[in-house]
Symmetry: C2
Subunit: 415 residues, 2 copies
C-alpha cells in the first residue's frame, strides 16, 4: 500500500481525551478514531491489525473443532427472560424497539442465543460434543467507557460455546481450550510470561472460572501470581491469606493486569432453563453440559499497544503488524525515488506486505517519525547516501542498529 | 469438513413461515436459521457462502483503490441532524440510549459517519480523490421484513463512498465502479444478462441513480428493459411513455427484478451540510463531490438461491459454494467407507474444499437427497457398485449424467 492511496494521515498532536497509551498512539498513528465514548472506527491500518488478530484466533478455534457461525445483534428480550438475565444484565443492555416488536435488546453476549440454536440440532449423545463460535460486534452499556480499546461500549468479541454429554467431557474440552488460548497469546506476542492463567470466581455453579491476564500497569485487575506455578488468583476472589490454588504457596506477587480472555464452565446454567436435553446411551433424557470461552480482538489490539511501545510510537509484533515493511525514499533525488518504487514493486510481487511512504512533500524527519509512530517491524530507507554505500538502510523497529544491505538481498532478509 | 463435525443438520420439513424459496431452501439445508422476523443466524455453511461473496466484492473494491475500514453501529443522532435525515430516516431508525447519551441510533447507512470521517484527513486537492468502504451489519426497522434474506431488518452491507475534487472526477470514478460491480455479479453467477443496469431516481441533485436488478419473479421491483442497450428503467421513474434513456427505444420489456446493488452520485448532498471543504490548485476553498455505492452480501446470497434452484434444492455456482465437493460412501461395506475416507484426506491435502457425509446411520436415499438439497457443484459417491466398476461416481449438481472415474483421476477433474 502506498501512502498516497491511504486516506488517513498521522497526527502529531494527541487527541485531548485519549486517556491511555493505546488510545493516544492508535489515534495519532491513524489506526482508529473515536466516534463517541467507547465507540471507535477502525481505519485501514487498524482493520488490518484487527483482521490478523481475528484470523489467528480463528485458526486456533478451528483446530479444536469449533464451528464458526454469525449470530445476530438484535434479539427479543424474552430469550433473556428464560434464564432470568433480563434482570441481572439490565444495566448493560442497549434496548430498542421496532415494527411489531417492543422489547428488543442488542446482545451483549450470546448464551441465550446459542443455547436454543444448538439445541435445535442435538437429539442424542451421538450429536455431542459440539463447539460453536463467532466473531461479532458486541454492545454493552458500560457505565464508564475508558482506556481506548480496553473498555468499549461497542467492541469485537470472539465467543465460543461448547456442549457436552457430561461434566467429564466438558472438563476434557476445557483443558483443550486452555491450551488453545495460550497458543493464541503466544502467536499474538502476549506469551512468554506476559499473560497469566488466573483463577477467578466461578459463580454459584463452578468452583472457579479462569481469566487470562496480561501484565500491565494500566490494567483494571489486581492479581496475585504464584511464580512457581505461573498461575494467579484474581483479587476479587482472594481472601486475606492468598494461596496458590495449585501448590498452596503463600508467597504471591501482586501485579496489575488486563483481562484478555475468560473461560467458564457453565455446566447447566443455561442448558437447564432452556431444557436442552439429549438422549443418553441408555435412552434416558439428560441435560447437556456447557462451557463458554471469550476473547476480545479489539481489546487484544489495545493491550498489544500497551505492552509494545516506546516514546516514539508503537512497536508491533510481526504477527499482527498491518504491514511487515515501512519503505521510504529520502531526499529529492529522482534516482532514489525510482529505486524505492522498484523495491516496492518487487516486494509486493513476492507477497511481502509493504507500506510505502511515497509522499513527495514530506521531510526526512517527518517520514522517519511517522515510521516510528506507526511501528512496523522493518524500516527500509533509500536515499542518495544509502545508494552511495551500495544499497538500502534496514532497521528493525525494536532494535537500535541500522544496516546497509544490497537491494537484491532485501527479499532474502524479509521473506 | 465432515458431517460428524458440523453441528447443523438438514431438515425435510419446511419452516412454516418461510415465504420465499431462499428462506425455505437455506433453512432446510442448514445455511441459516431465523432469530426473529428479518433477523437470521448464519450457520457454518451459510457463513462460508457469505464470506465468499464478501471476499469477491472486497477484491473488486480493492482493485479500484477502495480503502477498507470498519465504522460503528452506534452513533449519536446529532450526526443526522446536520443533514436533516434525523427526520427523513426516522421510520427506519432503531434508536437506543445509554450511559450519558440519550439519543443514539443504530446506523441504517453511513453517509453521516463517513463524510466527517474522511473530512478529517482531506485538506487539499492533492488529498483527493479518496474511496472508502466497509462490510458491516446494518439495521433498518423495515415495516415488513420478508422474503428471507431479501428484505431483512439486520443484514450485511458493503457500502463504499468516494470523494472528489469535482464532478468530472466523480463521473470518471462512477464509471469505474459501474464496471467493477458488473465484474462482481459475473463472478457470483449473476452475470450474463441476469443482472441489468437500471436507471432509477437520482433525487433532487442528480438526474439518475443506477440500480443493479437481477431478474426474478420474486423481485419487488418492476423494470422496463431495452434489449438493444441491455439497460432498464425502474418503474418508479418511468412515465407512461417508457423510453430507453440510452437510445430512445420505446419497445421495452417489463420484468420483475431484485435490486442487488445501487450506485449514486451524491454530489454535495452530504459534503455541503458537513462543510467538507478542500483547497483547490488556486488556493480557493471548494466543496468536495461525493458518490456512494452499495451492495448487500446477504441479499446477494438470497438472490443466488432464487436464481439457482430446482425442486430438489439449491444449485450453487462454484464461486460461492460453501464447498466444491459433496463426498459420501453408500452401503455398509467397510471397504467403501475406507476408500471415501482416503479420498477425503487426499482432496483436503490438495486444498480442494470437501464436505464429507461420513454418517454411518443414514440411508443412501437420505444422503443423496441431502446432497441435492445442499447443492454443492460436484457429488462424489463411493460404494460397492462404483468400486466394482473401478472407481467412484461423479455427478455435477447442474447436470443429469453420472460418470464413473478412477479415484486417482479425481484430483485432476476437481482442481
Amino acid at each position: 500500500m502506498k501512502f498516497s492511496q491511504l486516506f488517513t494521515k498521522t497526527s502529531k498532536t494527541a487527541v485531548s481525551d485519549a486517556d491511555s497509551i493505546n488510545a493516544k498512539l492508535l489515534t495519532q498513528a491513524g489506526f482508529i478514531t473515536k466516534q463517541m465514548a467507547g465507540v471507535y472506527v477502525f481505519l485501514p491500518l487498524g482493520l488490518r491489525v484487527l483482521n490478523k488478530i481475528e484470523n489467528t484466533i480463528r485458526e486456533e478455534m478451528n483446530k479444536i473443532g469449533g464451528n464458526e457461525v454469525l449470530m445476530p445483534t438484535l434479539t427479543l428480550e424474552e430469550n433473556y427472560e428464560i434464564t432470568g438475565r433480563d434482570k441481572t444484565l439490565t444495566d448493560v443492555f442497549y434496548r430498542t424497539s421496532g415494527a411489531g416488536e417492543s422489547k428488543i435488546v442488542l446482545n451483549p453476549t450470546h448464551e441465550e442465543i446459542v443455547t436454543p440454536l444448538v439445541q435445535k440440532f442435538v437429539f442424542s449423545y451421538q450429536d455431542l460434543p459440539k463447539s460453536v463460535y463467532q466473531f461479532q460486534t458486541k454492545f454493552r452499556n458500560e457505565a464508564r467507557a475508558k482506556s481506548g480499546l480496553l473498555r468499549g461500549r461497542e467492541f469485537r468479541m470472539k465467543d465460543m460455546y461448547s456442549f457436552h454429554a457430561d461434566e467429564k467431557d466438558l472438563d476434557a474440552y476445557y483443558e483443550e481450550v486452555t491450551k488453545a488460548y495460550f497458543r493464541v497469546y503466544d502467536r499474538l506476542g502476549l506469551g512468554n510470561g506476559r499473560t497469566i492463567l488466573t483463577y477467578a470466581s466461578g459463580g454459584a455453579f463452578s468452583k472457579y472460572s479462569h481469566e487470562y491476564q496480561t501484565l500491565s500497569s494500566i490494567g483494571e485487575d489486581t492479581i496475585y501470581i504464584c511464580e512457581k506455578c505461573q498461575v494467579a488468583v484474581n483479587k476479587e476472589i482472594a481472601d486475606e491469606q492468598n494461596v496458590c490454588p495449585k501448590c498452596g504457596n503463600k508467597d504471591l506477587k501482586e501485579e496489575k493486569a488486563i483481562e484478555v480472555g475468560n473461560i467458564f464452565k457453565l455446566m447447566d446454567k443455561f442448558t437447564g432453563p432452556f431444557k436442552f436435553l439429549y438422549q443418553n446411551e441408555k435412552g434416558e433424557q439428560q441435560v447437556a453440559q456447557m462451557g463458554c470461552y471469550g476473547i476480545g480482538p479489539s481489546r487484544i489490539m489495545g493491550t498489544i499497544v500497551e505492552v509494545y511501545n516506546d516514546e516514539k510510537g508503537i512497536i508491533w509484533p510481526e504477527s499482527v503488524a498491518p504491514y511487515k515493511v515501512h519503505l521510504m525514499s529520502l531526499g529529492k533525488e529522482e534516482e532514489s525515488k525510482k529505486e524505492a518504487e522498484k523495491i516496492y514493486q518487487e516486494l509486493s510481487q513476492k507477497n511481502i506486505e509493504v507500506l510505502f511512504d511515497d509522499r513527495g512533500n514530506s521531510s526526512a524527519g517527518e517520514k522517519l517519525a511517522d515510521a516510528d509512530l506507526i511501528g512496523l517491524p522493518y524500516r527500509v530507507v533509500v536515499s542518495k547516501k544509502t545508494m552511495e554505500k551500495g544499497g538500502v538502510e534496514v532497521k528493525k523497529r525494536n532494535e537500535e542498529n541500522v544496516e546497509i544491505i544490497k537491494a537484491k538481498d532485501l527479499i532474502k532478509i524479509l521473506s
